[in-house]
């Protein structure tokens, strides 16, 4: 109680100090939640990418395919030593992007993910999906059946049994995937044949080739997913594929891709959190300043306490705790405001399935504990100085 009364002696100064912490923790909460969301998305993507060797047409990078892989290439890949299964994939956007639309989204654009359901190929890290409604596509699924991700289902208000028109064709929803916080939330899963057909329709050049008979449907593949046999090194199998096809294909090996993702993720986290930490450091120094001034004003009081038997340790503890509580109060308010802001923005973006922030209880609790610790650290050295004050000198202070 004495600590709270001491804080209240200089209300305005205490308020300003707490406000500095509020700003820092607010920024930390918001940026940290954004980093959590991005990390979650990235980890999901990383899981997928590192669960298979991805082979794409020449010049393509992940998610942007300008050409196709012929079926012959996939067949040749399947014969390479160490390769277990090869799965054909055809993907394109659900809708063509409107370049005049200046809005930004943190999520992926809705994407058609066409896979050969009759193939035995499986991604090592991504074998089953948790379904909210219905069931996932399988060997027996029809070409007009689709499974949608949660963001698409929310945006288009889709449930099992509903019809969803994609690029002029009607599809029947047979399943809705539960929230993954990653790519599949924005996917439409369908059989490979209709996805190939839609891909051809979307590309006039491809369409003319197809109509003239110079392009076969089976040859329209955005990517091949390749699994490796047990006991084989995925990197060596990737190198074998590269050696065989040279520059005709882009091969993304799981380990190298994982490392690239980790580096990019680490850099992104450093930028996001580093900027928040700067705001927090400003708050920390405001506590230091307040404690130094407070101790200077209460030097005689410290002397009196020591004269009547207070140990240096108890003096240090008292002032350190005062600083800690300033940090705690500022942290609780800053965290509350940050969580509120993130929730409001997320709610606005939810209809588009593009939440920006991930609020986790352990992170929020951790933020409050962290702000208390920051306060303790800020107050420690001023408190240590206070504990070492000579009694007789302190009492003589006017």
């Amino acid at each position: 109680m004495e600590i709270f009364r001491n804080m209240w002696r200089r209300k305005f100064r205490t308020f300003l100090t707490i406000f500095g912490i509020v700003i820092g923790i607010f920024a930390f909460t918001v940026m940290g939640s954004m980093a959590l969301k991005l990390n979650k998305m990235i980890s999901g993507g990383k899981q997928y990418i590192t669960g298979q060797i991805s082979v794409m047409p020449k010049g393509a990078s992940y998610g942007t395919s300008t050409g196709t892989l012929p079926i012959d290439t996939l067949n040749k890949i399947s014969k390479i030593e160490g390769v277990d299964k090869v799965g054909a994939l055809a993907s394109l956007l659900v809708e063509d992007q409107n370049l005049d639309d200046a809005s930004m989204s943190m999520g992926n654009p809705p994407t058609i993910y066409g896979a050969d359901n009759k193939s035995d190929f499986k991604n090592r890290n991504w074998e089953t999906m948790d379904m909210r409604e219905g069931k996932m596509l399988n060997r027996d699924s029809k070409d007009d059946e689709i499974v949608v991700g949660i963001n698409i289902a929310t945006d288009k208000k889709l449930h099992v049994g509903d019809t969803y028109k994609i690029r002029g064709r009607d599809f029947k929803v047979v399943g809705v995937v539960n929230k993954t916080m990653t790519g599949p939330d924005d996917y439409v899963f369908m059989a490979i044949t209709p996805s190939r057909e839609l891909l051809i329709e979307s590309n006039p050049f491809m369409k003319s080739l197809y109509e003239s008979g110079r392009l076969k449907l089976d040859d329209v593949n955005s990517m091949a997913g390749v699994s490796w046999k047990d006991g084989y090194d995925s990197e060596k199998v990737s190198d074998e594929i590269k050696d065989k096809f040279g520059n005709d294909v882009s091969v993304m090996s799981p380990v190298k891709m994982g490392e690239m993702i980790d580096k990019a993720s680490a850099m992104m986290n450093a930028i996001i959190l580093g900027s928040a930490m700067l705001a927090l450091i400003v708050g920390l120094f405001s506590i230091v300043n307040t404690m130094v001034m407070s101790i200077s004003e209460r030097t005689k009081e410290i002397g009196i306490k020591k004269a009547i038997g207070a140990s240096g340790r108890s003096i240090a503890f008292e002032y350190t705790m005062e600083a800690g509580i300033i940090g705690l109060v500022g942290g609780a308010i800053g965290m509350g405001l940050g969580a509120l802001a993130a929730t409001i923005i997320n709610n606005k973006m939810a209809s588009k399935g593009a939440e920006i922030f991930l609020l986790q209880n352990n992170f929020l609790v951790g933020v409050i504990i962290f702000s208390f610790v920051v306060g303790i650290i800020a107050g420690f050295f001023p408190a240590l100085r206070a504990s070492k004050l000579k009694v007789v000198d302190a009492i003589r202070e006017l």
Partner: protein
């Protein structure tokens, strides 16, 4: 045989203000205080009264000499242990009361009890008992700025007594009080001495206060010149 509560031998203290300006505040002071004494230390301004009080109260250390309080040699005591002795063996009453402004009367007294190692229930009980004895039953929840000078000094007396110290050191206890209140305070101290055998050592420049004490220790130029 009378018990010696405080024995100081050959106490010297020097302050070095600058290379040329060295002040010998105490130049070999010898003092004995017995249990139950009600003694005053008097002397002209600058004779070393406050310096001696600070050393006896373990607020400062002598450059030379020995000091025993309640049979314990305090001379080489480091600050890490000195605070315990201050809490348990010595009660301090200051001229300017020096109460903690954010605490109530009760809390000010309880605080000293906490430093003295009393358990929570005991320190509250003793604090209330002391404040009631000193006529402050209705003022326990008042802060110092809500009390008169005399009331504040009574709170300070209660604070000095809560740990049942071997000696109570009072540095000009009536210095900031009017005549009537000064007499009241001295009356309280005398009663504590007579009825409860509390040992007092009072620094004062007020001859009326000095004359009301049983013994007088005179300091001059940093030495005890009492006969």
């Amino acid at each position: 045989m009378e018990k010696i509560v405080v024995e100081a031998r050959g106490i010297k203290k020097t302050y070095k203000m600058s290379e040329r300006n060295i002040v010998e505040a105490l130049r070999g002071v010898n003092i004995k205080v017995y249990e139950g004494d009600f003694s005053a230390i008097i002397g002209p301004s600058g004779c070393g009264k406050s310096t001696l009080m600070h050393i006896l109260g373990l607020l400062d250390r002598p450059d030379e000499g020995t000091l025993e309080i309640d049979g314990v040699d305090m001379t080489r005591l480091r600050e890490k242990k000195a605070y315990k002795m201050r809490a348990k063996k010595i009660g301090f009453i200051f001229q300017g009361f020096n109460l903690i402004p954010t605490l109530t009367s009760l809390e000010n007294v309880v605080l000293a009890g906490r430093y003295g190692g009393l358990r929570r229930r005991e320190r509250f009980f003793r604090a209330k008992e002391l404040l009631t004895t000193l006529g402050l039953k209705e003022r326990m929840n008042h802060k110092p700025n809500e009390l008169s000078g005399g009331q504040q000094q009574r709170v300070a007396i209660a604070r000095a007594l809560i740990n049942n110290p071997a000696i109570i050191l009072a540095d000009e206890p009536t210095g900031e009080l009017d005549t009537k209140t000064s007499l009241e305070i001295m009356d309280i101290l005398k009663k504590l001495n007579e009825k409860e055998k509390k040992t007092f050592l009072i620094v004062t420049h007020n001859m009326e206060v000095a004359n009301s004490c049983k013994k007088i220790i005179r300091l001059r130029d940093g030495k005890n010149v009492s006969r």
